[in-house]
Symmetry: C2
Subunit: 124 residues, 2 copies
DNA sequence: TTTCATAAATTACGAGTGTAGTTTATGGCA
DNA sequence: TGCCATAAACTACACTCGTAATTTATGAAA
């Protein structure tokens, strides 16, 4: 149950894209590509993520390699469950209906989803 | 884009259940039914919600009636979109797939969803 | 009319967040 | 071998949040 704040999530997102691990300048460059944060800001976020246990910093001093400890899938699970709990009566189906009704899904997405639902049904 | 914090959301949830409006003691009682917060805590949350514009306090002094200004549906939309943006590549279909794969949906829920998808498809 | 219960407002306070500036330590280059 | 760039650590600061305690104002009861 590591909590990741909004700004921290932006950094995590880059780390998730490079599971091999990244060094400070790379993280800074990647994050900077999407926003205007100061280098120090990004370093602060990295440090906080390490302190929280969401990221590990390994390797020699002055040349740390940062890697996510919390996986994207785990975090998705946590965040999605929390949303469902708070706003959709803890019932995932309600969230899905909500989206099915109001999202403009493409034909192929609809087909894909029906396929997944058929599989889920078959596994019962 | 009114932001509603976690604790505030608990209060909003009760207000959403009674759109007619509630007076302080009622809000306190309803919220207290689900948790152990101090009365003052709940009043603080109400005040903050009013200041944020998420709730209106109308009526005579010392007998305010509180009503949600932000609808539950709007807030669901905002929260769900934000989750999708941050963690699912801004693509609702990805969130739905995520749930379709890992949630234990009941047979009837699956049927309901397929039905909704068929309708969405027909409307294209 | 004075008092009391209590609704509303004000104040509190530590932890977390967004957003950096400042200081320190050090590996590599001149 | 001394200096500099810079990685990492430390400090900052206003704002939000969770969680209340305190103060003020007032309608109703005595």
């Amino acid at each position: 149950m590591v909590t990741i704040s909004g700004a921290e999530l932006v950094v995590m997102t880059e780390l998730w894209k490079r599971p091999e691990g990244l060094m400070t300048p790379e993280v800074v460059a990647l994050v900077r590509d999407g926003c205007e944060w100061d280098e120090n800001t990004i370093k602060t976020l990295l440090t906080r993520l390490v302190k929280k246990g969401a990221v590990e910093a390994s390797g020699p001093k002055r040349a740390y390699v940062y890697r996510p400890l919390v996986t994207k899938d785990d975090y998705r699970e946590e965040a999605a469950s929390s949303l469902v709990r708070q706003l959709f009566n803890a019932d995932p189906a309600q969230l899905m209906c909500f989206f099915a009704e109001r999202s403009k899904l493409s034909k192929s997405e609809i087909a894909q989803l029906k396929d997944l639902l058929n599989k889920a049904e078959a596994e019962k």
